[in-house]
Subunit: 106 residues, 2 copies
């Protein structure tokens, strides 16, 4: 860990989807664009095979709370529950350490 490392927050969103996910991709893109404009947004990483994992990164718990309550996002959450997600789990985490590797023959 760098001596200058400043802790930040991660939201781990793990999900399985229903078979019919009409409208999902459009909404997901819209929400990602919107999240990027939120105060305290740091980044997002996303992957989906059987399971979907999206991790978004934030400066503070306050920033996460504000994003959770953003009006368009509230509507997306509602649609997510009724239309697209079979199951999801959200974990709010404090990132305490991090390290990175890049291969030389990249």
């Amino acid at each position: 860990m760098s001596p200058n490392f400043k802790p930040y927050y991660a939201v781990i969103f793990t999900s399985t989807q229903k078979e019919n996910i009409t409208g999902y991709a459009e909404m997901a893109n819209k929400m990602e664009e919107l999240a990027k404009k939120q105060p305290g947004y740091l980044g997002i990483e996303s992957s989906r095979s059987d399971l979907g994992i999206t991790v978004s990164y934030w400066e503070s718990l306050e920033a996460i709370k504000n994003w959770k309550q953003q009006a368009d996002h509230l509507e997306a959450q509602k649609q997510g529950k009724t239309k697209w997600y079979r199951w999801y789990k959200i974990r709010i985490c404090k990132v305490e350490h991090e390290y990175e590797f890049s291969s030389l023959d990249n």
Copy 2:
């Protein structure tokens, strides 16, 4: 958050792979089986599209440290750096809150 919620730890492992990943799947399965036997192991979630995200969950930082230093895992890490990963980032996080959703028409 449940009043009985007990914080635990997550290791977020985000990666991109090289084109030739011969031997990777076998090693990944082996490591997952091995992790499950480690003291303090709680669970694992994995997904890969362009980006791979694997999140493993642990009771304590001590459990994560022990897993990091496990002999077969050290060998896997070494091979990961030289053979399979183009890039990776590891974040050690404390899970402070969590909530879960299951659809009724599941």
